[in-house]
């Protein structure tokens, strides 16, 4: 493992030191798209970290350390490219994130420590997202505008116009990013989001991001949806849209950059659909076994970076070892942390209220004195 001894080392410095060969090219290309080699290596490192975290999480769900796993192996490029382009902060000047439950890579690349993910998976009282209440990947972080992720498919889509409305009023470049899978777009809430984001004269800075992995649990997208492209459903609303290969990090980065620039500057909605893989099925409920028939974006990008001379196999191995160790350390750290107590059951239901005669502070069980 390549442990840094320099406390001031930035992640970019780290990637350069860890990965870059002396004869690395200045850019990595894919078709007409290109990104700097430095950025490509940063993306790759975050994708490897995300994969390591997901694989450790799946192991925990199988070992009994957790009850349930759901996540996004196969969506790493999309998630990491998103996280690294988010304007991170609290309030309408910054981006709001209306995520679904496959976005670990987004928050990891924004700077969330792995242990914050593992704690939710392990249902500890230290779980900063939900106090051990919610499934893994159901993040909630007010300081980064990550509104609570819910298992109810697509409800996030109707909340995004609300945050975007406040952002438009506030001014600046903050946008609301609403992430959905393909199956969820069958819900009316997807259409509601398009409708509310495109009201004439009241267009809103909403980026709809569709991670199309081709499945809703066991049902194929193609068997239920006649629409050729999901993103094209923006056209009747006059919403610009694009469908890209989410398994190509170079393409994904540039598509997101274009879409975000449009939404940030034009203050209007955009639909970006990314075709991605689903490498471990829907969730642990379907076994979470690796599907070796689908394209693996991490392996593919690794080969591309080696082929173009940006890195080599030894350095990739070192980085994977480091990521795996990081995930293992996080899992070990939470093993002995406290679990929720019966006293936590009611906690956090109500915010303190000066106009409530029964619950001025928080919920305390049924009203009144029990006789």
């Amino acid at each position: 493992m390549a442990q840094s001894t320099d406390p001031d080392e930035t992640p970019a410095d780290h990637d350069r030191r860890l990965l870059t060969l002396g004869n690395a090219p200045p850019v990595v290309r894919s078709g007409r798209d290109a990104i700097s080699t430095e950025l490509a290596l940063t993306l790759f490192r975050q994708m490897v970290r995300t994969r390591a975290l997901e694989e450790r999480s799946i192991k925990m769900s199988k070992s009994g350390e957790a009850y349930f796993w759901i996540g996004g192996p196969g969506e790493e490029a999309l998630n990491v490219c998103l996280g690294l382009q988010i304007h991170r902060g609290q309030g309408p000047a910054f981006d709001y994130l209306h995520l679904h439950y496959r976005n670990a890579g987004t928050l990891l690349s924004m700077g969330m420590p792995m242990v914050d993910h593992i704690r939710q998976l392990a249902m500890t009282a230290t779980d900063r997202h939900s106090l051990g209440r919610n499934f893994v990947g159901h993040y909630a972080m007010p300081e980064w505008n990550v509104v609570p992720v819910t298992s109810v498919i697509e409800v996030q889509m109707v909340m995004a116009p609300g945050t975007a409305l406040m952002q438009k009023r506030h001014g600046g470049e903050g946008i609301s990013v609403a992430v959905t899978g393909d199956a969820g777009t069958a819900e009316g809430d997807f259409e509601s989001c398009l409708l509310w984001s495109s009201r004439p004269g009241n267009e809103l800075p909403v980026l709809v991001l569709v991670a199309n992995n081709g499945y809703g649990i066991s049902t194929t997208h193609a068997s239920q949806h006649a629409a050729r492209r999901i993103a094209a459903r923006g056209e009747p609303y006059g919403i610009r849209n694009e469908t890209v290969d989410g398994n190509d990090p170079v393409v994904m980065w540039n598509a997101l950059e274009r879409a975000m620039r449009y939404v940030r500057t034009q203050r209007k909605p955009f639909i970006l659909e990314a075709n991605v893989s689903r490498l471990h099925g829907h969730s642990s409920s379907s076994g979470a076994q690796r599907n070796w028939t689908e394209y693996d974006v991490v392996a593919g990008f690794e080969q591309k970076l080696i082929d173009c001379g940006a890195t080599d196999a030894d350095q990739v191995r070192a980085m994977k070892d480091e990521a795996k160790a990081e995930a293992d350390d996080a899992a070990d750290a939470v093993a002995t942390e406290p679990r929720p107590s019966p006293l936590d059951v009611y906690m956090g239901t109500y915010a303190p209220s000066s106009v409530d005669a029964v619950y001025p502070k928080d919920y305390t069980g049924l009203p009144g004195r029990r006789r």
Binding site: G91, P92, Y96, D127, R128, H129, S130, L131, R133, N134, H138, A140, M141, P142, N145, V147, P148, T150, V152, V155, M157, V158, M159, A160, P161, G162, T163, A164, L165, M166, Q167, S176, G188, D189, S192, L195, W196, R199, M347, G348, T349, Y350, A351, P352, S353, S354, V355, D356, A357, V358, Y359, L366, P367, G368, R369, R370, R371
Partner: protein, 352 residues
């Protein structure tokens, strides 16, 4: 005296000028109509939305997340059923996030029967709403309470559902709102939008002032010894009239409790009264199977069984799929004055 719907409008005006309300919105809520019941006429933050209750709820949540103070309207509670899971989500956001995401939002919606509204303008919602943990649910029965409960709903930093009895919208109260002009006609001239072209119309708001009815506090609207009646919304004036009539004609006197808050409810007020009278009737117009009144009845039985002199009872709407437009349907499925007076007389007269 202001009507209930005028009181709501004045409360929303106070809310947007003094309590930080940023948005009052819903179907037909903005100009030119200002709400199908006129609750939002003339408000500076009122705007119209698509005909999409789920979008209304979700947008309110987003506005609240981003620091706004939304009051949204579902045009009739009959149309809230397609968004009940969004209400569930709104109610659990703070709890699910371990207390990190309060959601200061108000949803108001007309509730109940009594306007000859046929099947889809006659529903009651309070029993459904009582199952939405994380919400507070209030239902005024007169203009002053509507004003005070709406201000509390706005000031409370949690999701609050304000259920407005449809049949009482146009009913005037007997207590003035703080700052309301003494002359009802003057109030109407100043804040009711004119019929016809209203593009140039501006309201002339009276200087109303702050008045909170605390959430969770019921009101003992009649005091007596014979029995306790717990009710809310549309049946409050019906129960009061029955109590007055029975007092005059038969000498029975009743504690009539206007619950005002469905959740949290004023259990101490109910409990003290039941301890005193030993007789209780819970009356409301919602349908009878898994009615919120049954929950109160359960607590009465659990906690006051040995205080009871006679069996506790309920008077509720019949368990039928809807309320038909012909009045035969409503009169025979929703508690009417004659049903209320009979139930109260039987309760008071039952041999202990």
């Amino acid at each position: 005296m202001a009507t209930l719907v005028q009181a709501v409008r004045l409360a929303l005006h106070y809310g947007e000028t003094h309590l930080g309300v940023t948005d009052v919105f819903g179907e037909d809520v903005g100009p030119p109509l200002g709400g199908v019941f006129t609750a939002t006429q003339g408000l500076k933050t009122a705007w119209n939305t698509p005909l999409d209750e789920r979008g209304i709820l979700g947008t309110a949540m987003g506005i609240a997340y981003a620091g706004g103070r939304p009051v949204c309207e579902i045009q009739f509670c009959d149309y809230a059923f397609n968004s009940i899971d969004l209400m569930k989500v709104a109610g659990n956001q703070r709890w699910c996030s371990g207390g990190q995401f309060p959601l200061p939002m108000v949803v108001m919606t007309p509730n109940g029967a009594g306007i000859r509204g046929s099947i889809y303008h006659s529903h009651s919602f309070e029993s459904w709403a009582s199952r939405l943990a994380g919400w507070k649910v209030v239902m005024p029965s007169n203009p002053l309470d509507a004003y005070g409960l709406m201000l509390s709903a706005i000031a409370d930093p949690n999701p609050v559902l304000v259920l407005l009895p449809k049949a009482l919208m146009r009913v005037k109260g007997d207590k003035p709102l703080p700052g309301e002009p003494a002359d009802a006609d003057e109030l109407a001239r100043r804040i009711d939008a004119p019929i016809g072209d209203r593009t140039q119309w501006q309201p002339d708001w009276p200087e109303v002032s702050e008045y909170f009815v605390p959430i969770g506090r019921g009101d003992l609207v009649r005091e007596g010894d014979s029995a306790t009646v717990v009710t809310w919304g549309r049946l409050v004036p019906v129960c009061v009239r029955a109590a007055d009539d029975l007092s005059r004609e038969l000498g029975f006197t009743f504690d009539v409790i206007d619950l005002r808050s469905i959740f949290p409810y004023d259990w101490d007020l109910i409990a003290h009264s039941v301890e005193k009278t030993g007789r209780v009737l819970i009356a409301n117009e919602d349908t009878e199977v898994t009615n919120f009144g049954e929950h109160l009845l359960r607590r009465v039985v659990d906690e006051h069984f040995y205080d009871l002199l006679v069996k506790p009872r309920t008077l509720m709407g019949k368990h039928v799929p809807g309320i038909g437009i012909n009045q035969t349907y409503e009169e025979n499925s929703v508690p009417q004055y004659t049903d209320v007076v009979a139930a109260m007389r039987d309760l008071a007269a039952d041999a202990a």
